[in-house]
Symmetry: C3
Subunit: 468 residues, 3 copies
Amino acid sequence: MDPVLRPQRRESDRLLPADPALRSIARDLYARVADAPIISPHGHVPAAMLDADTPFPDPAALFVTSDHYVTRLLHASGVPLDALGLGRETVAPRSIWRTLAEHWHEFAGTASQLWLEQELREVLGITEELGPESADRIFDAIDRRLQEPAFRPRALFDEFDIAVLATTDDPLDDLDAHERLANSSLRGRVVPTFRPDGYLDPDADGFSERVQALLGADQAPSTFAGYLTALEGRRAHFRARGAVSADHGVLEPLALDLDAGEAERLFAEVLRGTAGAADRRRFRGHMLFQMARMSVEDGLVMTVHAGVLRNHSTATRRAFGPDTGHDIPIPTSFVEGLRPVLERWGLRPDFHLVLFTVDETTFSRELAPLAGFYPAVYIGAPWWFLDAPHAMARFRSAVTETAGFYRTSGFIDDTRAFLSIPARHDTARRADAAFLAGLVAEDRITIATAERVADDLVGAIPRTAFKL
Amino acid sequence: MDPVLRPQRRESDRLLPADPALRSIARDLYARVADAPIISPHGHVPAAMLDADTPFPDPAALFVTSDHYVTRLLHASGVPLDALGLGRETVAPRSIWRTLAEHWHEFAGTASQLWLEQELREVLGITEELGPESADRIFDAIDRRLQEPAFRPRALFDEFDIAVLATTDDPLDDLDAHERLANSSLRGRVVPTFRPDGYLDPDADGFSERVQALLGADQAPSTFAGYLTALEGRRAHFRARGAVSADHGVLEPLALDLDAGEAERLFAEVLRGTAGAADRRRFRGHMLFQMARMSVEDGLVMTVHAGVLRNHSTATRRAFGPDTGHDIPIPTSFVEGLRPVLERWGLRPDFHLVLFTVDETTFSRELAPLAGFYPAVYIGAPWWFLDAPHAMARFRSAVTETAGFYRTSGFIDDTRAFLSIPARHDTARRADAAFLAGLVAEDRITIATAERVADDLVGAIPRTAFKL
Amino acid sequence: MDPVLRPQRRESDRLLPADPALRSIARDLYARVADAPIISPHGHVPAAMLDADTPFPDPAALFVTSDHYVTRLLHASGVPLDALGLGRETVAPRSIWRTLAEHWHEFAGTASQLWLEQELREVLGITEELGPESADRIFDAIDRRLQEPAFRPRALFDEFDIAVLATTDDPLDDLDAHERLANSSLRGRVVPTFRPDGYLDPDADGFSERVQALLGADQAPSTFAGYLTALEGRRAHFRARGAVSADHGVLEPLALDLDAGEAERLFAEVLRGTAGAADRRRFRGHMLFQMARMSVEDGLVMTVHAGVLRNHSTATRRAFGPDTGHDIPIPTSFVEGLRPVLERWGLRPDFHLVLFTVDETTFSRELAPLAGFYPAVYIGAPWWFLDAPHAMARFRSAVTETAGFYRTSGFIDDTRAFLSIPARHDTARRADAAFLAGLVAEDRITIATAERVADDLVGAIPRTAFKL
């Protein structure tokens, strides 16, 4: 691999404050953590990719069509998704890449621009600026790189110095890939994450079939108790394979403690498909409550990603499937909806509940006050649309004065774009260095304290929150 | 006209960041666009004023009583509106001006202070600071200026270098003033905007009479179909007179696709005044949907200004009429309410839907994600209470990382205060230069990219969004 | 007292912007107001403490167990509240102090860290940094200080140069302590505040008993009219003892104007405990309306602290009582809920309604627009979780461009931590100096205007808002 990767990154002052005094402090803080091993406790890299260690495909597949943050903005700019090869496979990769290059100025200032440019520069060693004129040269340069052994997934995994990488997995996944990876020569751990949404939400496509498969896999009876036992069984399997957390994506952060009779009745109705909207909502709420109960019992960290309306454009979902760029955040509030869980288990330090939001109004209003009291609650790092330098700065500004740094989760990249992982963590480290530098320059904390916090943000803090 | 106008503006570093490195970059970016022609695709300057080209009245009428941003803050400070000559005409202009001067420190830091001081300095060449002691001298100086031919509306229109100015007009307006202006010697275009709120909202004062007048003007039958045809007819008239957009001010951004039978029934009931609140809401929602349908068909850009509760103080509206400073924003969400429109036409790049908000929580949560996917959606510029430097900075910070610059509308002054137009656009140019300078200084974009974006923000971006 | 207190404070650039040009301006502005007398028109220091003038207890009781901002974050970090001596009295103060010291890095960047360090340094003259190693030395140093006469409450009151300190008091309090303080040698005024929540909210613990006691104290009949008369009587007593305001803590800022019949019926039912949730809510809403009516009549400034869900953790409240760190903000909107009050009395400059929020989305969306029109409305200073430097900066950024500085209330410390009062006001003064410096550096206001505003923010502005 290109030996300039690390020094090149560290020598840049990217994202550090412009003011010389601030920048100097921030640079020193960043230098401490720039090369720290990467802890990635929540993300979407497929274990199979690392297991198979197949070379990455062409530049378009790697950087465009597999990244719905890139395709969505091209789409917004008037490029139909099928012109990018989504939904069919007949568009030439070079043509897709040229389309990206023609629209590249429209990505100026976005997170996607930041990640992609940093990947080109610091992972692939390509320093030329992307644009219509350079598109072909850069395409060819990437293409050559991707054929080198040093750019295959496992080599990069070690090169990136990833200490822990959590994948996100279907409850019925056998996790054999994880077992093979655990026994491989990879220097870091790859751990699965239990993600049961499709088995808990009656409105999910194929819910009944999925639940039947779950019950069948566990040879469990078709009762609510059997269903819970089957879920507990799969969680145990995940724990045995190294999982540290269970993840829950919900539109509404609602937990309901129902009595056994109602739960049994709702379970039967949602399986038959006869439950009305209110009952389906109650069932969903009860299952979030049950997931908290299981986390308390088996120790898996519970992460909740709330407030995103999935697949806003029905026509796009039908033509191109989910995760095609039209998941849209809605107003969110955690205080009442999660109260049943917090009333029951919120005071237990061994229960870890990490709350992620895309409604940044909850940062100062709810997440910091909740995490500033309940030992169970951790404030999830800036997530999704908020996962970029300005938003990170707003996040720290909003939560720190109420909850400090130690009630936050540490950075989560939440990405399936493997090559972007170093860029994303690097951005978080720089953003935190910049924020800490401000506290130092304004005489709020000493440099020694800032150094300790900077170190902990890439080590002790995520390790504690995720029980690593 | 005072020859120092332009240089005076460009030589000031007003609103540029204090940090020397940032300021230097921002200054260069601003210099590129400081003298660019003004594109004003949404505002409230009356075409009749330009058509008649009558001199502006006295300083109080020009800067105080016609500007409800100024009167509202005086009112908040304890000055009754009738002491400012509202509702009656017997207060001496000089007395009103002195009242403003006595309260001027209470405007410190407001947008109104910024506009008025810049108008005095850069349009009228008056550099003395306003206060009780200087009030009379400044009043006299303005008064003299306003009698000069160079300060009549048309001369200023050319002096301001306005390329496009959109007015906002009643659907039944004959638009003859626009036709005369199109044939006049004005260097820029003055185009009408179709604003049908009063014809669509059953709760608007005089709704039934207005609809009857509409149907009469078009000799249309009193059916829902006739009503739609009449609206289409007026839109065609607007398009023939140069209109590029239709504007919709709504409390709630709600669009409903009703079947023909329900629409016909609701139309009859709202005309008779027998519809209940829920039905009136459904009718309003359906008419927003119909307006979208018409925009798709006739190509007028659809702008939606949502979330303002008009006339909060009933006593004030009764005594002094609407637009007297007590329109108050409420919590707003676009995601579900506009979904019917976006499901139907959101993927069409030829449909342009520009969304404006006064609830800034929607910037990062909703508007940037929607405009970052739907080719139809553009993020409206900071509007109304958010139309000032700090709010502009928050706007760019909130939307850019998700949607970039090219999914925003370009600056909209939305003003009836003709003299403030250069100051408002100048402020937006400075604010954008400051924001771009930050991205350059933090090594996120190159200076060449920043220059392109700065240029486009005052040219290609508003021209594209508004089909100019 | 240690003679370095004041100079030490003024010589630090803490919280002033890092940029040299900004800092220089901010430093000059801060210097003007650093030593201005403290006006504290809303807080929770007990009058009895000043009246008795007993020495402060040990360091743990003074700085830890009496401050639920400190205990809540220790609790979140896994320290059970009873390990801090809450709920029982058997934990050694030195042990509690050591626990704080071990966790002190977890407070980095919080408001609590800022207050406590400034209290140690500037009130007690202790400059060593707190940590496990220094814990015992600092404990002993504090302990010695607290035994000196100069550190008793009254001596500090004069040393702090407090001009006005408002306490918060039960409506049935005899206020004799206030009378004695008024006749004491204290240089400043200590005034009571009428806080009737527990007598107005049917959901408050002991509501009926409290109302019966109120009626008994006033020998009023058990009718709604008698209840109102009794409340008016207590307000008159408060006014006679120097009160300038009545304070209202509500979950929902809702005011309802009910007719006499409904009010009478609801009053009977809430007293009997037979009212349903909707009726209890209506009663509460009507009582907020009645409180506004009484404020209009008797001139007490009405302050509303809205949007906090009290006692989120039932188990904690049961074990340790209220005010133990788990009051959590919820989404709040003032526009519709307070409309009945504003429609009725909002145009009266003699009615002062100061609105406080912990949902910062309302700053730009609602509070600034309301206070920018209604002479009755003042924007309450950043409150509770928002009462820290970054949040103060967000507050000024959000409200100033719409409402200026003169529609805000001036700083409110809202604290029961007497020793923290100078640190809190000092922070607000520095934050405002920093904000004003930004306006000066960006050429938005002159230095002379900034100086006037800085002066007024610690003098004329709170004196006007609170009728002092």
